[in-house]
């Protein structure tokens, strides 16, 4: 660029100092300087992007302990974990049997109730209360709410229906309600967000 023939500028012409292959020292210096400045510039603007990620005080909310001793069979409670609503439901033997009777081939997101609960605690169904369609909170955590055709949860936003294992059965949602990591710290308390040490 600096050797454009016919350029009217006085010292824009660097002179024909070729080193055989048409690659001049000036080209080398230019590429080196611009690359160096480019990498430095990228490093300098990195903080503008990393600051967007969750801050330390948000990450500190990663686990929540919930007392489940008061939950009657057939009912449940809503809790909060990382500012997201959570369903903790105590299934009745009838609801467990209903969930177990469904053939996996009927499911959009095939999973058994065993896979969605902890061993020895098959009646405790703990899921995020976030519909996997577009994030509304489904109804049905207490018996008085609409539980939909399959007796689990019903999302009022776009009509997704979940069964008693919180698996998607009908409607636009693609996946079952998400089961978070959790563990029982005692027989009546669960620690959401941690798989436990066992």
């Amino acid at each position: 660029m600096a050797t454009k023939a016919g350029s009217a500028e006085v010292s824009q012409t660097a002179g024909p100092i070729d080193e055989g292959d048409g690659f001049r020292r000036r080209d080398y210096l230019k590429i080196a300087a611009v690359s160096f400045a480019g990498v430095g510039g990228l490093a300098a603007i990195a903080p503008l992007f990393v600051q967007i990620a969750p801050s330390a005080d948000v990450l500190a909310q990663s686990t929540t302990e919930v007392d489940i001793s008061k939950i009657q069979a057939g009912s449940g409670i809503k809790a909060q974990w990382r500012k997201q609503p959570l369903f903790i439901r105590n299934l009745t033997p009838k609801e467990i049997a209903e969930a177990d009777s469904v053939p996996l081939s009927d499911l959009r997101d095939p999973q058994t109730l065993e896979e969605r609960t902890l061993p020895g605690h098959k009646n405790w169904l703990i899921t995020l209360a976030v519909c996997t369609h577009l994030g509304c909170v489904p109804l049905g955590i207490v018996p008085s709410e609409n539980r939909g055709k399959y007796g689990g949860y019903f999302c009022p936003c776009h009509g997704s229906q979940y069964d008693t294992a919180a698996r998607i059965r009908q409607g636009p949602a693609p996946k079952n309600l998400v089961v978070p990591d959790y563990s029982f710290t005692t027989a009546t308390t669960v620690l959401i967000g941690s798989k436990g040490s066992k």
Partner: protein
């Protein structure tokens, strides 16, 4: 847009041609900071500080936008949102905040150098009076923005700074006190003041950016000045902005930003006041209240008035402080000398440096505790500041005999006889050969 030999924009890529025919934005940029803007070939390093000021404005806007994503403008939460959330919890928050804090100081530093460059080389003189005046508007907006930004962390200095600065309004006769209450939205700085300061602190930098565009636009009508103060005569006197000055500005900016990075990383609180790490307390003023360093000379002028004289001392102080900046708007008409550059004005040059010393003394006084000696020094220095602009400068321009000016910019940088004796094309060929040999 300034000289007949300025290269017109010629789009190389068909996409750029398509764009240029519909929206000539690339053309405007090419003519403003590209190969289409001819710049005097003899600029020295003092001419790098305008571009640097633009870089620091950009740094302040970028870091400020992301800090505002984490800051809470509430009297109960502001202090913690800065000192806990941003400084400890947000990823790289400490760096962004220190970069913003020190960025303000460095922005003022480069703007002061830029302004004193203008004072020495007569950049305020015809035909660039408006460039100078728009620059002063930017400077006033910067001071307002910096002050309001300093209030946001809601520490002790924030609070008492807000209290003191807004009390300037109360010095105005008759309407002063109601005006101050109106500005604050209360009787003392509180939630209403904090929220409006935050809103304006976010707004004003974009107003500054708008005035910067006017500043550059008005500069590019006559074209940039130069250290000789001699007008550009022909094509030999200029070089295209790109690649010559983009390269020079680029390397100098990298070097200067290194200096900024060193302070930001290793001395982040050197320019700040430790009292601002104490949460605001509306019942206890800090033992010593000082503004940030870049406002100290004006603070000294404010404090120089200690006795009532016809008007109350308080009013004199505020009037003098504002006048010290406002009188700079009249500078193009106070200095009537036809010679622009201080390099050819032997008397002016000496008084220029005396003014620099005077402003530094004012800054020192402004940062010192009030004692009889510092007050006396401050009064002399403040008086001299006004004397310089209102008396000395007009007198010098009347009586001074300037040194002989070079007949052209090219003559001042090249061998005299050669430049004079050769026709333009021959001179160009010789320079070309010389540059090639140097390579």
């Amino acid at each position: 847009m300034s000289f007949s030999w300025a290269k017109p924009y010629e789009p190389k890529h068909p996409v750029m041609r398509w764009l240029d025919e519909r929206l000539p934005l690339p053309r405007v940029i090419y003519g403003a900071i590209g190969g289409g803007y001819p710049v005097p070939r003899n600029l020295n390093y003092w001419w790098n500080f305008g571009v640097l000021a633009g870089i620091f404005l950009t740094i302040q806007i970028l870091t400020g936008i992301v800090l505002a994503m984490h800051y809470t403008a509430s009297t109960t939460d502001a202090f913690n949102s800065v000192n806990q959330l941003i400084m400890r919890d947000v990823n790289a928050g400490w760096l962004l905040r220190y970069a913003h804090m020190n960025g303000a100081s460095f922005f003022f530093l480069v703007v002061y150098i830029h302004m004193f460059r203008g004072l020495y080389y007569g950049s305020y003189k015809a035909p660039r009076e408006l460039v100078w005046m728009l620059g002063l508007v930017i400077y006033l907006l910067m001071m307002a923005t910096a002050f309001m930004g300093y209030v946001l962390p809601w520490g002790q200095m924030s609070y008492w700074g807000a209290q003191v600065i807004t009390n300037f309004f109360s010095a105005i006769p008759v309407v002063g006190d109601p005006l101050r209450v109106w500005v604050l939205g209360g009787y003392a700085p509180d939630q209403a003041a904090l929220t409006r300061f935050f809103s304006l602190h976010y707004l004003l930098p974009f107003v500054i950016a708008g005035v910067v565009i006017l500043h550059i636009w008005s500069l590019h009508i006559p074209g940039s000045g130069n250290p000789t103060g001699v007008d550009v005569k022909d094509e030999r006197d200029t070089l295209p902005f790109h690649p010559f000055y983009t390269a020079k500005d680029g390397w100098f900016a990298a070097a200067f930003l290194l200096f900024y990075a060193i302070v930001t990383y290793f001395l982040p609180n050197y320019l700040g006041n430790p009292d601002n790490y104490i949460p605001a307390n509306n019942l206890a003023t800090p033992a010593e209240i000082v503004p940030e360093w870049y406002l100290l000379p004006f603070y000294a002028i404010l404090r120089s008035f200690t006795a009532d004289f016809i008007l109350p001392a308080k009013l004199w102080g505020v009037v003098a402080m504002f006048s010290s900046i406002l009188l700079l708007f009249f500078l193009p008409w106070l200095d009537k000398s036809a010679v622009r550059s201080g390099a050819y004005r032997p008397v002016f040059k000496r008084f220029f440096w005396l003014l620099v010393v005077d402003v530094i003394v004012l800054g020192w006084v402004g940062g010192s505790p009030v004692k009889p000696l510092t007050v006396a020094v401050g009064q002399v220095a403040a008086a001299y500041y006004f004397l310089h602009f209102l008396v000395i400068l007009p007198l010098i321009s009347r009586f001074e005999t300037p040194l002989p000016l070079p007949s052209s910019i090219t003559e001042s940088v090249l061998d005299h006889r050669e430049a004079e004796s050769l026709p333009p094309s021959a001179a160009r060929r010789r320079t070309k050969a010389a540059t090639a040999a140097a390579e």
